[in-house]
């Protein structure tokens, strides 16, 4: 599982890690019974306090997303639901806040989203990229 954190995100790091795990589940890069990196490895990879990683894994364990197999590490729970709803809410919340910051109303935003989405559907399949934000199409 490859994880990267957004340096400009001011939210607690353990929440960001949890979101990354959930995202991987929804997108499909992580499947039930897949191993997740050890606390040590993920902390080293992200250059993050191991306690933070522990906290994230612990919370995910509590939510039933991950479970610990004695002596073998941490794995995605068999019954882990890809939590589209939580993820969806997060994406929407970010969009609403962003819109508000830019002085846009919610209805205006929804209409524009539909417009953009329709255009994207007509284009050949391109991998989703966060760098296309600056488009003026």
């Amino acid at each position: 599982m490859l994880v990267s954190l957004d340096p400009t995100d001011a939210r607690p790091l353990y929440l960001q890690i949890m979101d990354e795990v959930r995202r991987a589940l929804v997108v499909g890069t992580l499947r039930p019974e897949d191993p997740v990196p050890s606390v040590r490895d993920l902390a080293s990879q992200l250059v993050v306090n191991p306690r933070t990683v522990s906290q994230a894994y612990h919370e995910l364990e509590r939510e039933g997303v991950l479970y610990v197999r004695r002596g073998q590490g941490t794995f995605v729970a068999a019954a882990a639901r890809s939590d589209r709803r939580t993820l969806g809410r997060k994406v929407a919340k970010r969009a609403v806040l962003d819109a508000r910051r830019n002085g846009l109303g919610v209805e205006e935003l929804i209409a524009t989203i539909r417009e953009i989405a329709a255009k994207e559907d007509r284009r050949p399949a391109v991998p989703a990229s966060t760098t296309t934000r600056g488009d003026n199409r």
Binding site: P12, R40, A43, V47
Partner: protein, 298 residues
């Protein structure tokens, strides 16, 4: 002062007329990764030197794991892995391998296998004499010396200084691994706050020898916010909101970095006549910058 791994009480140090540290009450909780930030000359290195009892304070005291650093210096230092600010030019004639062996005799907890692993990870050429090492290599050697005996306390004075970008990342990744394997309390100073953003869970700000702020990351995230508000053109900020406020050129917008409960702060601003448009949490680096450069009001 106990229950904190590293603690100082009224620590003061003067050099002639210059006050390097002014009644500093540093409190580093057990197991924390505490980042000490401050401008050059703010007193960071002095703090480390006093903790290692390399100099004696003019007033106040310091403790490491409950051991007073002045009267029980050797015992305190046995618990510490120290990377000093300046490179040490002693033992230039010894090879790296010999120096590692030399230092290992002083620490009963020295892990030879780990020292080897660290040396390899840092690409140290062990057969070279210490005096012929480059600045970066010397730094890395100092890091190995500090980590190899798995001390419960790490005092790192700008540990990545002098390292190139790749080595800096490697060093910090190694530190993360080290912390996963060895429970330790870290007090480190750095100018590259964004580098240690993931590792740090506490931050302290030194300005002109005074510890102006000392907070956990949770506290920073909860209470340090940037407030952006619309204000009337001729509006004058009340006295307690004047310091640290940044006003736009059109005089219609103002921005503050304030510490406090968000709701209470918004209420205060609204009472004063500002229309709060945006409240944003700050990254560690942004909060550090604010605390360093402005008088952040509460």
């Amino acid at each position: 002062m106990t229950a904190h791994a590293v603690a100082t009480r009224g620590l003061t140090k003067r050099y002639g007329r210059d006050t390097a540290l002014d009644r500093v009450d540093l409190q580093v909780p057990d197991g924390a990764v505490f980042v000490l930030i401050g401008a050059n000359g703010a007193g960071k290195s002095t703090t480390f030197r006093l903790l290692m009892n390399l100099e004696r304070p003019d007033e106040g005291a310091a403790e490491i794991l409950g051991l007073d650093t002045a009267s029980r210096g050797p015992e305190a230092r046995a618990q510490v892995g120290y990377v000093p600010e300046r490179l040490d030019h002693s033992y230039g004639w010894m090879t790296c391998a010999r120096l590692l062996q030399h230092v290992s005799t002083y620490y009963a907890a020295w892990d030879f296998g780990y020292a080897d692993h660290l040396s390899k990870t840092f690409a140290l050429r062990l057969d070279r004499r210490v005096g012929t090492l480059s600045k970066g290599e010397s730094r890395r050697l100092q890091l190995v010396l500090a980590l190899a005996h798995r001390p419960p306390v790490l005092l790192l004075d700008e540990p990545t200084d002098g390292l190139d970008l790749a080595m800096r990342t490697r060093a910090l990744s190694l530190l993360a691994e080290h912390l996963a394997d060895t429970p330790a309390t870290v007090l480190m100073s750095t100018h590259q706050i964004h580098e240690v953003d993931g590792l740090a869970d506490h931050m302290g700000v030194l300005r002109d020898g005074r510890l102006v702020a000392q907070m956990s990351r949770d506290e920073i995230q909860r209470t340090v916010r940037r407030y952006r508000a619309e204000v009337p053109e001729l509006w004058q900020a009340p006295p307690d909101l004047q310091a640290g406020g940044v006003r736009s050129s059109t005089r219609r917008e103002m921005q503050w970095t304030l510490i406090g409960d968000e709701r209470a702060v918004v209420e205060r601003l609204t009472q004063a006549g500002a229309l709060v448009r945006e409240v944003s949490a700050m990254t560690l680096e942004a909060a550090a910058l604010a605390l360093l450069t402005q008088d952040v009001t509460r």
